[in-house]
Point group: C3
Chain length 368, copies 3
C-alpha cells in the first residue's frame, strides 16, 4: 500500500573488502568499548537478530539461520559477490557516503558499482583538518590550507559531516571564534601533535564548522548515539540550540544525524528552525524489531518535509540491507496504520513516504 520505489541513503559508509571470520563479523554489529562480556555475544542484539532476519535470504539461506552457517555461505560466495548481492537486495537507489572514517573501505564509485545505484561523497571535516595539519608546516599555512581544503572539497561533495559532538560534546559556543583565538589554538595543537593526531580542540572544531557553514553545502552534525568514547550526556541535540540560531538565515542547512535517544528533541528542532532537518537513520538499525516505534517518535514533531532516510551503515553491507529493509517495513507499517485508521488520507501517506524515502534528500542535497 505504501510504496517507496526510490531510496536515498543520505548517510552511510563504505564496506570492508576483506573476507570476514565469525569474530570479525560479530565485532561490526555494535560499537562497544571492549569485547563482549563473558557468556554473551553481539549477535544477541536487535542488530544481530535483524541481520539474521533479512540477509540470509539474499544469499540463498533461510531467515534466522545460525551465524556460523551464514558466515560460511558468505565466504563461499566471496566478499565481493556477497557485497554485490546484499547491496543490490537492499533497495537503495542512491548512496551518500561519508569517506572520512578509518579503514580500507569502498568509496562512492565502488558502492555505486556494487550496488547498481547512484553514489555521492560526503566529506568529514575533522579528518580533513587532520590531513591538512599533517602536511602544513606553519600555523599560517595550516589555516590557509584548511580553508582551501574545505572549499575545495565542496566541488565534488554533496555535504559536509562533523563529529564535533562526539569529540567535544554539542554544547559548543555558538559564535565563530575570533582570528586570534583560532591562531592561538592552532599553534598549540600543531606544536603538541604528531602526524595522525586527532582534532579535539573546541576552538578549532568550531572554526572548521564555521568554514563549512560559509561554504553553504548541507552540514550534517552527529548527535545522540555515537561512537564509543562519546559522552552520551553531551550529545543531546538541544545543546545545539544556540549554534542553530546563530546559523539561521545564512543559507546552510543543518542535518541532525542519529539523534536517538534524543530523536524527539531533534525532531523538535527540525520543526522550529527552517534550516534544520532530522535523520531517521541509524537508530532503526540499532533498535531492530522496535524500528517502527522509533520512526513514529520522529514523526511526532518533525515536519514531514524535514525528515531524511539513512542507514548509517558502516563496514558490513548487511547493515545497509538492514537499515533499508527496517526503514521500508517501519514506514509502511506506521503510515499504513494511520491511513487505515483514517487519521491520515492514503494519498497523504503515500506522498509523505516518498518524501522521507527520497524526495526530501534530493531537494536538500541537490541530487538530480
Amino acid at each position: 500500500m505504501i510504496e517507496t520505489p526510490s531510496l536515498v541513503d543520505q548517510y552511510c559508509h563504505g564496506v570492508l573488502r576483506t573476507e570476514l571470520g565469525l569474530g570479525t563479523f560479530e565485532a561490526q554489529l555494535a560499537r562497544t568499548e571492549g569485547p563482549p562480556a563473558p557468556g554473551t555475544t553481539l549477535f544477541d542484539t536487535q542488530t544481530g537478530f535483524a541481520v539474521r532476519r533479512w540477509c540470509p535470504p539474499l544469499l540463498g539461506l533461510e531467515p534466522h539461520c545460525p551465524p556460523a552457517r551464514y558466515l560460511a555461505r558468505r565466504r563461499e560466495l566471496g566478499a565481493l559477490e556477497a557485497t554485490r548481492m546484499l547491496l543490490r537486495g537492499s533497495g537503495i537507489t542512491t548512496y551518500l557516503v561519508d569517506t572520512g572514517v578509518p579503514g580500507d573501505l569502498t568509496g562512492p564509485a565502488e558502492m555505486a558499482c556494487h550496488g547498481a545505484a547512484g553514489a555521492r561523497e560526503i566529506v568529514r571535516l575533522e579528518p580533513l583538518a587532520e590531513q591538512v595539519a599533517d602536511t602544513s608546516g606553519t600555523v599560517e599555512s595550516f589555516l590557509t590550507n584548511l580553508a582551501e581544503a574545505v572549499q575545495g572539497a565542496a566541488a565534488d561533495a554533496v555535504a559536509f559531516t562533523s563529529i564535533a559532538g562526539l569529540r567535544h560534546g554539542l554544547a559548543l559556543a555558538s559564535e565563530p571564534p575570533g582570528p586570534g583565538e583560532v591562531r592561538g589554538a592552532a599553534a598549540r595543537w600543531l606544536a603538541d601533535r604528531r602526524v595522525g593526531g586527532v582534532l579535539t580542540d573546541p576552538v578549532l572544531l568550531r572554526h572548521v564548522l564555521w568554514i563549512a557553514v560559509a561554504v553553504g553545502l548541507p552540514l550534517q552534525l552527529h548527535a545522540g548515539l555515537g561512537e564509543p568514547g562519546a559522552h552520551l550526556d553531551r550529545t543531546d541535540p538541544v545543546l545545539l540550540t544556540d549554534f542553530v540560531r546563530a546559523t539561521a538565515g545564512l543559507g546552510t542547512d543543518l542535518i541532525l544525524l542519529h539523534g536517538y535517544p534524543y530523536h524527539r528533541q531533534a525532531a523538535h528542532l527540525a520543526g522550529v528552525f527552517p534550516h534544520v532537518y532530522a535523520d531517521s537513520g541509524a537508530a532503526l538499525v540499532r533498535t531492530g524489531a522496535r524500528a517502527a516505534t522509533v520512526l513514529a517518535e520522529i514523526l511526532e514533531l518533525a515536519p514531514f518535509g524535514k525528515i531524511l532516510f539513512s542507514t548509517g551503515a558502516h563496514r558490513l553491507p548487511e547493515l545497509h540491507v538492514v537499515g533499508a529493509r527496517l526503514f521500508r517495513e517501519a514506514l509502511g507499517r506506521v503510515l499504513g496504520t494511520w491511513a487505515a485508521e483514517g487519521a491520515w488520507s492514503l494519498e497523504d501517506a503515500q506522498r509523505v513516504a516518498r518524501m522521507i524515502a527520497a524526495d526530501n534528500a534530493r531537494r536538500v542535497y541537490g541530487l538530480d
Copy 2:
C-alpha cells in the same frame, strides 16, 4: 465504551476574529522561527493532518480535503460562523482561557458565547507585571502595584500561569528573593526598559511567582515544548524540583503545562508531590496520530487524580477542535484497550476517563 460527557479545557487561548488567508492560517499550525523551509509546508505536519481530518466535516466538507478548499469554505461561512461551528463541534464544555498573550483574541466571555460553554479566566503573570511597569513611576510604586495587581487578579481568575520557564529556563533558584534583591532588580529593569519591554530578569520572575504562590490560586508553569526562543534544554520540569519542594505544604497547587518531550518527568513529579499536577494537553495537538501513545506515557507515572486535560489551543478554533477530538479518541483507545485486556476494570477505566476529562479540573480550580 469510554464516555467523557464533560470536557474542561484547563488551558487554552482565545481565537482570532479576522478572516484568514491560506498563508496566515498555515503560520498558526506550528511555532517556528521563520517561514517554512523552501519546498515544505506546515500543513505537512501532524497538526496540519489532524486539522484536515477533524475540521472539514464540522464545516460540511469531507475529511482530508485540500487546505485551499477548506479555507475557501471557512471564508464563505465567515470567521464568526466558522468559529461557532468549530467550537460547538469540539465537545468542550468549559474553557479556561489564558488572556495574557498578544493579539486581538476572543476573551473568556466570547469563548463561552461562541462555544455555548462555560469559560473562566487564567491570568498570565509576566504580562501583568509588564503592564504594571508601564504605569508605575517608581520602584516602590511598581512593587506595591504589582502585589496589588496579582492579588486583584485573583478575584475573577481561576488560576495564574507563568512562562518564567520560557523566559529564563526552569532552573530558577527555589527560594523567594529577598526584599533588597527585588528592589535592586526592579530598579535596574525599570531604568533600562521602554514601555512594552518584556520581563526576563530571573529575580523579578521569581518574585512574581512567589507573590502568586502566596495568593493561593493554582499556578500553571509552562514546561517542555514552548514558544520559539525558548531553550528546550532548560525546560525539563525536573529542573523545577527544588522550587516544587520549596512550595510544598503552602496550599498552592502547581500544574506543569505541556511537558513533552519531558512528560514522563512531569508525570513523575505529579506522583511524588501532593501539590503537583500534570497536563495532558498541547502535546496531543502537536503529535496528532501519535496522541494515544503520548497520553499513555503520561499515564505511566502520574496518579490518575493528578492529570488534567487541555488543548493549549491558540488563535485558531481548529486547534481547540483537534485538541479535544484527539484527546477523546486517545483516551478512549488507551483506557478501552486496557479494560478489554483485563489490565483495568471497565468501571475504573470509565471513572478515570471522567476524572481526567473534567472532574480533576473541577476540583483543582474550584469550578462549580
Copy 3:
C-alpha cells in the same frame, strides 16, 4: 509460547510482618513526599490497579475487587499466611534481597521460607558505612573498620548495592579519592554526626564505591526513579559514563537499577561497556498496564545477555507479585509478537526470555 520457568528477582526488599490497615497499605503503593492530594488516592495509580488485578485471585477473590474488600480478606488470612500465598503465587524462584533499608522487614531466609524459593543477600553500602561510623571512635578506626566491613560482607552476599546516586546524584568524580581527601572528609563527617546520621558526603560515597569495586562482587547502582528526596535531574545514568569507563576492565560488573525514565540511556551503556548491565525491574511495577512498552524500550539497545529481571518490590508481597506477573506477561507479549511477525525466530525468543528471566542473573551473580 514464551515460557520462563525460573525467575530470579535480582533486586528486591523484604516485606512487613505486621497487619496492615487500608491507609498503611495505600502508603506503600508509591514513594511520595507527603500524603495523597485531597480528593485523590494512591490506589488510583498504575501500581494500585496492577495490585488489584493480580493479587485478589491469589487470595481467593475476583480481580479488581475494591481495596477495602481485599484488605479485609488479607486481615482474615493474617499477614503471614497472606504473604506465603502471595509470594508462592508470584512465580519467583530466587530472591536477591537488599537488607539495607530501614524497617522491620523479612530477611533472605524468611523470604526463602515464605516463598518456597531460594534467597541471597545484597548488602547496601551506605547503611553499612553508617553502622561502622556508629561504632568507630576515631577516623583511623572508622576507615579500617569500613574496609573490613565491606570485605567481610562479601563473604555471604552476592552483590553490593549503592544509593550514592540518590544521595548526591550520579555525576560523581570518576576516580577514587586520595587518602588525605578521604581522611579529611571522614574527620568532618564523624565530628558533625550523631548516631544514625546519614552518609551524603560525595568523597566518602566515592570512597565506599571504590572499596566495593576492589572487592569484585557485582555492584548495583540506583539510577533514574528513586526514593523521594532524590533530584531526578541528577539520576540519569549517562552521568555515570566517566565512572563506568574508570572501572572498565577491573573485573567488577556494574548493574544499573531502575533507570526509568532514562532506561534507554541505561540500555545504551549496557551495550557499549562489557561490564555494565541493565535492570528491567521496578519500572514495570510503577507503570503497570504500560509494562510491555517500557520493557520493549529497554530491549532496543541493551544486548540480550545484559538485561536482568527484578521487581524492586519493598514492604508489600503484593509488589513482588505484581513485578513478576507484569514482567512475565510483558515479556511474553513483546517477544511473542516479534516471533509471530517473523522479526525474531521463535527459538531465539524463547532463549532470550530465559536469559532475561534467570540465566543472565545466574551467570552475573554466580548462583548455582
